[in-house]
C-alpha cells in the first residue's frame, strides 16, 4: 500500500516537471512545427546551471532565474542558427541533433562524466506511511503547475499566443497581414529554452546530473507531445502525468529497466494503433 502511494505521489510530482518540459517542446514543435531535438540537452544545461549556482554562488534559488534566462538565450541562438533550414522538418531534426551532440559533448568536457548532485534546498519532510516524504517535490509540482497555467494563458488568451498560433497555421498569410513570423519563431525558441532551463533547474536536486541525461528524456518528452497532440498544452500535461505515474508504479513493482521497457512499449503501441496520431501531422512535420 505504501509502495502504491509512493509510486503515485512520485509519479505526479515527476509528471508535472515532465509536463513543464514537454510544454516547452510543444511550444516549438506543436505551435511552430519545428522539432528541437536539443530540447533535452537544454534541460540538461539548465540542471548543470543549477549545480553551478549552488556550488560556486552558494545559492540554488538563484538558478530558478539564471537557468531559464541563460537557456532561453541558448534557445534563441539555436533558432538563429537554423534560420536557413527552418521550413524543412528533416533538416531541422538533423541540425538540432548536431546541436545536441555539441551541448552534450561540451558538458562532458566542461563538467566531466562523474554524476553531480545538488542537495535539496530545504530538507523538511512530512510523514507518509511512516516514511519521510520531501516537501521539495511538492514545491516542484506547485511551481510547475503555476508556470504551466501562465503558459496556457499566454498561448490561448493573449494576442501574442494568437499570433503564434496564426503563424503556425499559415506562415505566409500571417506575414502578409503584418505578423513578424520569424521574430515569433525566435521568441518561441526563447520560450521553449526557458521552460527547458527551468525544468532542469527544478529537477536538479532530485536526480544525479550527467551530460547524457538529456537525450533519453527528450525521447520521453517527444512521445508525450505526440500522444497528447501538437499544440495542446493541457492534453500533454495529462499524458505526462499519466506517463510518469505509470512509469513510477512499474518501476516500484518491477525494476527500473523493466519499468522503462514497459512504458516505452506501451507508448509506441499507442502511437502505432492510434490513427489520430498517425493521420494528423503539422504541415511542416510532414515528409522531407
Amino acid at each position: 500500500m505504501s509502495k502504491l502511494a509512493f509510486g503515485l505521489l512520485n509519479g505526479v510530482a515527476w509528471g508535472t516537471v515532465l509536463a513543464l518540459l514537454s510544454s516547452g517542446l510543444n511550444v516549438v514543435f506543436g505551435l511552430m512545427g519545428t522539432v528541437n531535438v536539443a530540447h533535452g540537452s537544454l534541460y540538461m544545461f539548465g540542471a548543470y546551471l543549477a549545480w553551478i549556482c549552488f556550488s560556486f554562488l552558494d545559492s540554488f534559488w538563484l538558478s530558478l532565474i539564471v537557468s531559464p534566462l541563460t537557456v532561453g538565450l541558448v534557445g534563441v541562438s539555436i533558432g538563429l542558427l537554423l534560420k536557413p533550414v527552418r521550413k524543412d522538418s528533416i533538416l531541422t531534426v538533423l541540425g538540432t541533433f548536431g546541436i545536441t551532440l555539441v551541448l552534450q559533448g561540451s558538458a562532458l568536457v566542461l563538467w566531466g562524466g562523474t554524476p553531480r548532485r545538488v542537495p535539496l534546498p530545504f530538507d523538511s519532510t512530512f510523514s507518509l506511511f511512516g516514511t519521510g516524504y520531501s516537501f521539495y517535490r511538492i514545491f516542484v509540482a506547485l511551481v510547475s503547475g503555476l508556470v504551466l497555467y501562465c503558459l496556457w494563458f499566454l498561448v490561448e488568451r493573449t494576442k501574442f499566443g494568437l499570433r503564434l498560433r496564426a503563424s503556425r497555421e499559415d506562415p505566409e498569410l500571417s506575414s502578409a497581414i503584418g505578423i513578424p513570423v520569424f521574430n515569433l519563431f525566435l521568441l518561441g525558441f526563447a520560450l521553449g529554452g526557458a521552460l527547458a532551463g527551468l525544468s532542469g533547474a527544478l529537477i536538479a536536486p532530485l536526480v544525479s546530473l550527467t551530460p547524457g541525461m538529456g537525450l533519453r528524456i527528450f525521447a520521453i518528452v517527444f512521445l508525450i507531445v505526440i500522444i497528447g497532440g501538437l499544440g495542446k498544452i493541457w492534453r500533454s500535461v495529462v499524458v505526462a502525468i499519466y506517463f510518469s505515474v505509470f512509469r513510477g508504479l512499474a518501476s516500484v513493482f518491477l525494476d527500473s529497466t523493466k519499468g522503462l521497457i514497459l512504458t516505452f512499449s506501451l507508448a509506441l503501441l499507442v502511437i502505432l494503433i492510434n490513427p489520430r496520431i498517425l493521420g494528423r501531422s503539422s504541415a511542416n512535420a510532414n515528409g522531407s
Partner: protein
C-alpha cells in the same frame, strides 16, 4: 536533391579497377594498427550505407539502424556457437536482420517525417534496454566473446573489403534499377508517387528490409572482427553514428556513406590521441555545418566541384 553524375560503363570500369587495385595493395603500405582502422572504417561504411538506402533513397529518417546492427552481431555469435562457418553465418546475419527489418518496417512505414524519427529512436532505446535486461541472451553490458579463430588482420581486411565491394555493387545495381527510381520518386514527391499508383508502403517496407539486412551484415562483420558483442551494439548512439556519417559523407549516394565513415573514423582516432572528450563536440558542429551549409555532404561537394570543373551538369 536530385542530381546524378552520369556514369558510362567505361568510366565505371576505370574507377573500379583503380579502387580495387588501390584497396588491394593498401595493406602493403600500412602498419597493423592502420589495417585494423581501415577494416573498421569499411565495416562502418557498409553500416552507414544501410542507413543511406533508407534515408537518402527512400526519405525515411531512421534512428533505428542499431537494432539491425545488434541483431546481426548476435546472430553471428549464436551461429558460431552453433558451429556454423563464417560464410553461412554472415548470410544468416543478413537474413535474420532482414526479417527484423521487415517486421519493424511493416509496423512503422506509415509514419512520416519527424514522427518517424521519434518512433525509430524510441525503438532503438527499447531494443537496447531489452538487451540490457536479458542478460542470459546477450550478456548485458559486459557482453560475450565470439568463439572464433582469427585468420589474421590482413586476411580479415581482405574479407571485409570483399564483402564491402559486393555490398556496394549490390547497392549500385539496386539504386539504378527501376526499384531505385521509384524509391527516389517517393522521396522527392510522395504524393505524386502514390497518385501514380505505386504502393508506397510496399516499396518502403522493401527498402527498410534491405537496409536492415545490410546493417545486420555490418553488425555481423563487426562482431566477427572484434570478437566481442554486447548490449551496447544496440545503443541508439550507434544509430546516430550511421546518420552522421551518411549526412557528412553525402546522403543519396552509394559512396558518400563510406567517405563519411572513413573520415570520421580518422577524425575520431586523431582526436582521441589529443583530447578524447572533444570528438562529439566536433562531430556535432560538423553536422550542424553540414545541414546548414552543405546538405549534400562531402561527396556532394566533391561532385559539385568536379561538375563545375568539367563545366558540365555533374553538380
Amino acid at each position: 536533391m536530385q542530381t546524378e553524375a552520369s556514369w558510362n560503363l567505361g568510366k565505371l570500369l576505370t574507377v573500379l579497377v583503380v579502387v580495387l587495385t588501390g584497396f588491394g595493395v593498401l595493406p602493403l603500405f600500412l602498419g597493423r594498427f592502420q589495417v585494423v582502422l581501415v577494416t573498421e572504417a569499411l565495416i562502418l561504411g557498409v553500416y552507414a550505407l544501410s542507413f543511406d538506402l533508407i534515408f537518402g533513397y527512400a526519405g525515411m529518417l531512421s534512428f533505428g539502424q542499431s537494432i539491425f546492427f545488434g541483431v546481426g552481431a548476435y546472430t553471428i555469435l549464436y551461429s558460431f556457437k552453433g558451429g556454423l562457418g563464417l560464410a553461412v553465418s554472415l548470410l544468416l546475419a543478413v537474413f535474420v536482420a532482414g526479417i527484423f527489418g521487415l517486421l519493424v518496417g511493416s509496423a512503422i512505414v506509415r509514419i512520416k517525417g519527424a514522427k518517424f524519427f521519434l518512433v525509430t529512436l524510441v525503438g532503438s532505446i527499447l531494443f537496447y534496454l531489452l538487451a540490457l535486461d536479458n542478460r542470459w541472451l546477450t550478456g548485458g553490458s559486459d557482453g560475450m566473446v565470439v568463439p572464433t579463430v582469427f585468420p589474421g588482420l590482413v586476411e580479415n581486411y581482405y574479407l571485409v573489403l570483399g564483402v564491402s565491394l559486393t555490398t556496394i555493387l549490390f547497392a549500385l545495381i539496386l539504386v539504378k534499377s527501376p526499384l531505385g527510381l521509384v524509391l527516389k520518386m517517393i522521396r522527392d514527391n510522395e504524393r505524386r508517387a502514390g497518385l501514380l499508383g505505386y504502393s508506397l508502403k510496399k516499396y518502403k517496407v522493401m527498402t527498410f528490409t534491405i537496409g536492415g539486412g545490410i546493417a545486420g551484415l555490418a553488425g555481423g562483420l563487426y562482431a566477427y572482427t572484434s570478437g566481442f558483442v554486447s548490449a551496447g551494439f544496440f545503443h541508439w548512439t550507434r544509430s546516430a553514428d550511421a546518420v552522421v556519417w551518411t549526412i557528412l559523407g553525402g546522403a543519396g549516394t552509394v559512396v558518400g556513406p563510406f567517405v563519411g565513415a572513413a573520415l570520421l573514423t580518422v577524425v575520431r582516432d586523431t582526436l582521441s590521441a589529443v583530447m578524447g572528450n572533444i570528438y562529439p563536440v566536433v562531430v556535432g558542429a560538423l553536422l550542424v555545418l553540414a545541414v546548414v551549409v552543405f546538405p549534400r555532404g562531402v561527396f556532394g561537394l566533391l561532385e559539385r566541384a568536379v561538375g563545375n570543373w568539367k563545366g558540365g551538369s555533374g553538380g
